[in-house]
Structures are given as structure tokens and as C-alpha cells.
């Protein structure tokens, strides 16, 4: 479980996040939604330690990720898998080497054991025959799947997905969504997903955190979100294809 308490972040004079309080649960897909520029990505970057918040706490199983020492932070980071919006695969490495990378860096497995794990992860994301291809030789959807395979290679406890289906066609997008849902439930991972895709939200989301211009507007279940009387939520849902 991850808890966020009174989180604030500004860039210069611009307040990007104001007093955010939220909880993300294990074994569930926790979707953070909001319009472009609402602060979703900054919140995710704060949570994984890429951006330092001005004030507030980010608690991983009760331990404040900002205040803890370097060693403990590193241990928590090894339990984090992240799927980036642009996949962020290492261009100079093949698909197999990309998935193997965290194993090589952090595990004590032998080469054979690592290869077995890599093949398992690639099978899990239905990419059996792409081991020797480079990222430049595969499609956007395949890159996302390799990104997921790399993220789950070390059996993470926390999976962060930054707009996992942006730029994908509806069929591939659904494949990626279902894959994230399956993995989350199968391994009891705390998944936090940034999205502004309502279809993704209603298809695979368990909890919703709605951010509007840097403020937390709603936190709760999908049903509560659907039935919320908030005019901002109504507007957001009304503008999307899936209306109530």
C-alpha cells in the first residue's frame, strides 16, 4: 500500500500539486485521472523519486520515501517497476537484454536462470519471438509490452504505468490494459496508472484518484466516481465517450 499525505509541489511560482492526500491499494489497479497538465505525471514522478516534493509524505508500507536514507530508498526502488509513456527501452540493448537488465543489476541469478526468467516475462506479455530484436525494430504496442516485461522482471510490489495506452490503437490498448490488470491481480501488485482514457478506467480500474488543476477532486471506487455529484467529474465524464 502507498499513502500520500499533504503533498505539495511547485515549479517556480506555479503550484502543480496542492495538498494531495491519497491511498493506493495492493492487488488493485489505482487509476489517477485528470486533464492534460493537471499534475498526474508530476504526482507519479514524486512517488517514484524522480521529482522531490516541496512538502508532504509518500509512505511505502508506512516508511516515508522522502525522509528515509539512501540504502532503504534503494531497496524500495528495487521493488518498483515502471512503464513509461514512451516505453523508455534502452536503444542499444535488444528486447531480451532490456528485460534482463534489472535482473543483471540486482539479482544473483546465473545467466541461465536469468534467461529463463526473461523468457517467462516475455511469454507473460505474449512476446515469444522478439528476443533478439532492437527497440527500433518493433511496434509501439510491442515496446509497451517489453516495458511491462522489464517492469515485472524483478517481481515488483509496486507497478507505475504512465499513460500506458497513449498512442496505441484501440485493440492494442485493450491488450495492454488487460495485461496490466491480470499482472496486478496475479502478483498482488499495487498498480498506479496515469490515464485520461475513460475506457481504461471503467475496464480495469478499481479505484480512482481524480486531480483537477493540481487539487485532489475525488478519491474512491469506480462506482462512487460514476455516481459522484461533483460538476467537475460530470464535466469530465460528459466530455468523454463513456457517459453515465
Amino acid at each position: 500500500m502507498i499513502e500520500i499525505q499533504n503533498l505539495n509541489k511547485s515549479f517556480g511560482d506555479k503550484e502543480v500539486l496542492r495538498n494531495i492526500n491519497a491511498t493506493f491499494y495492493p492487488g488493485q489497479v489505482n487509476v489517477v485521472i485528470g486533464a492534460s497538465g493537471s499534475g498526474k505525471s508530476v504526482l507519479m514522478k514524486c512517488m517514484v523519486g524522480l521529482v522531490l516534493p516541496d512538502t508532504g509524505k509518500i509512505l511505502y508500507k508506512g516508511e516515508d520515501f522522502i525522509a528515509i536514507d539512501y540504502k532503504t530508498k534503494k531497496e524500495i526502488r528495487e521493488q518498483i517497476g515502471m512503464l513509461f509513456q514512451g516505453s523508455a527501452l534502452f536503444d542499444s540493448l535488444t528486447v531480451e537484454e532490456n528485460v534482463d537488465f534489472p535482473l543483471k543489476m540486482f539479482s544473483n541469478m546465473t545467466k541461465e536462470e536469468r534467461l529463463e526468467r526473461v523468457n517467462f516475462c516475455l511469454q507473460r506479455v505474449k512476446l515469444e519471438n522478439a528476443n533478439k530484436l532492437f527497440p527500433s525494430e518493433i511496434s509501439g504496442g510491442m515496446k509497451k509490452r517489453v516495458g511491462i516485461a522489464r517492469a515485472i522482471a524483478l517481481n515488483p510490489k509496486y507497478l507505475f504505468c504512465d499513460e500506458p495506452n497513449s498512442g496505441l490503437d484501440p485493440v492494442t490498448s485493450r491488450v495492454i490494459d488487460l495485461l496490466i490488470k491480470e499482472i496486478t491481480e496475479e502478483y498482488n501488485i499495487t498498480t498506479i496508472m496515469n490515464s485520461h482514457d475513460m475506457k481504461t478506467l471503467f475496464d480495469i480500474g478499481d479505484n480512482v484518484t481524480f486531480i483537477y488543476k493540481g487539487d485532489l477532486e475525488f478519491e474512491g471506487t469506480i462506482e462512487d466516481f460514476r455516481n459522484s455529484p461533483s460538476p467537475l467529474i460530470e464535466e469530465f465524464l460528459g466530455a468523454s465517450y463513456f457517459q453515465r
Binding site: E78, A88, D91
Partner: protein, 245 residues
């Protein structure tokens, strides 16, 4: 103020590289790969520069020494000293700043804008240590080696140009070169080469690492890496000469 800000950031960047590596073997292997990329892959361009600068140096020295009472061995002496003291370390490193510097800055810059560096950080890897340190170590080791090769080829190129154009026979050239040879000059050139190797790789890594934006900014970082490295090489060249000569 911006100069001090960037210099401070550069020092912090260098300091951030030193943390306990996750797996030392991976860092050693990366350093060897970078040594091949920086050293072996630069050998052709270094050889071409050295041969031609040595050759041109012989022809121009001979053109300026027209008095018949000046011994022709002086050409070998001047050319070998010039090659060892200046042409091999400085001119070669200025060209290497263009070749290696732009390559490093664009590689790291592209990794930055495509979130690959963020991916390393999220995994808990010290990205500066993982990306920059092997390149800097490789540069500091391999550039002096390239400069030693450039010295040999520069002097040889000078001798061959003298023979080919009929300016002086090889024996006279080598007699002059041997006569003026000082071990200190080679040491001085290697001190310069080591410093220039550090300047080229560290500045280029720094420029690449702090790239923000997209393809346009990667290009700008690459250009800045070459410009700043070249300027710093010339400044360091002056300072080292002042200190040691």
C-alpha cells in the same frame, strides 16, 4: 552568475558519480566497451590527423628555413618537438572533442529526453555513475594512448613528407629528431592528453545529462559539448604550458 551556477552544477554532477556500484563487473565491462568506442574507433581519424600534420609541418618548416648555412637536421628537430609538444596532444584532442564529445552528448541527451535515464533512476541505479563514469575513465585512459600513437605517426609523417618531396633524407630528419628529444616533452604531452581526455568526456557527459526538451535540444547539447570542450582544452593547454614549461 550563470557561469558559477553551471560550474557548481558540473562539480555536483562529477561528485554524484561516486557511489557504491550495484555490480562492479558490469561497470568494468562498460568501461572496456567505452574504451573500444573512444579509443579503438578513433584510431583512423587520429592517424590521418597525425600523418598530415607531421607532413605539413616538415614542408612549412623547410619553406621558412631558406638560409643555406642552417643544417637540415633542424627540420627534424623542429617537427618532432612541435608534434610531441603541441600537434599530437592539442590538435588531436580538438578533433576528438568533435568526434567523441558530440557522440557522448547526443547519446546521453537522447537517453535523457526519451526517459531512459529516468528508467535507470526508478530502478535504483545511480545514472551518472552508470553512464558517465565508464566514459570518463575510458577517456582518461585511452586518449593518452591515442596521443602516443599520434606522436609516432606525426613524426613518421613528417619524415616521409621530407623524403617524398626531396626536402631532406630520412637519416638527417631522424638525426635532428633524436638530437632534440627530451623525455620530459613526452611526459608533458601525456599530462596534457590526460587532462584533455577528462575535459572532453566529463563536459560532454554533463551537457548530455542536462538536456531537456526534444531532438532540437539534443542537437544543441551536442554542439555545446564540442564548443565548451574545445574552449576548455585551449584554456587548459595554456595553463599546463605555463605551469610546466
Amino acid at each position: 552568475m550563470l557561469l558559477f551556477y553551471n560550474f557548481g552544477r558540473y562539480l555536483l554532477f562529477l561528485a554524484s558519480m561516486f557511489s557504491k556500484p550495484e555490480k562492479i563487473g558490469i561497470y568494468i565491462s562498460r568501461t572496456f566497451n567505452e574504451m573500444v568506442s573512444i579509443g579503438i574507433n578513433s584510431l583512423p581519424i587520429v592517424a590521418i590527423i597525425a600523418l598530415f600534420s607531421g607532413g605539413v609541418s616538415t614542408i612549412q618548416t623547410s619553406y621558412q628555413l631558406i638560409a643555406s648555412w642552417i643544417s637540415k637536421t633542424i627540420i627534424g628537430s623542429i617537427v618532432s618537438d612541435t608534434v610531441i609538444l603541441e600537434f599530437a596532444p592539442t590538435i588531436t584532442c580538438l578533433v576528438l572533442a568533435g568526434k567523441i564529445g558530440s557522440s557522448i552528448a547526443s547519446e546521453i541527451g537522447t537517453m535523457k529526453v526519451s526517459e531512459q535515464i529516468d528508467a535507470l533512476e526508478v530502478m535504483g541505479i545511480n545514472s551518472t555513475g552508470y553512464l558517465a563514469l565508464p566514459k570518463i575513465i575510458a577517456g582518461v585512459i585511452m586518449i593518452p594512448m591515442l596521443i602516443i600513437i599520434a606522436m609516432f605517426l606525426g613524426i613518421w609523417g613528417g619524415m616521409m613528407a621530407g623524403v617524398a618531396t626531396g626536402i631532406l633524407p630520412a637519416e638527417l630528419f631522424m638525426e635532428g629528431a633524436r638530437g632534440s628529444f627530451k623525455t620530459f616533452n613526452v611526459m608533458f604531452a601525456l599530462i596534457k592528453a590526460t587532462s584533455f581526455g577528462f575535459i572532453i568526456t566529463s563536459i560532454s557527459c554533463f551537457q548530455g545529462y542536462f538536456t531537456e526538451g526534444g531532438a532540437l535540444e539534443v542537437g544543441k547539447s551536442s554542439t555545446n559539448a564540442v564548443v565548451y570542450s574545445s574552449v576548455m582544452i585551449l584554456c587548459a593547454d595554456y595553463v599546463i604550458a605555463q605551469l610546466f614549461l
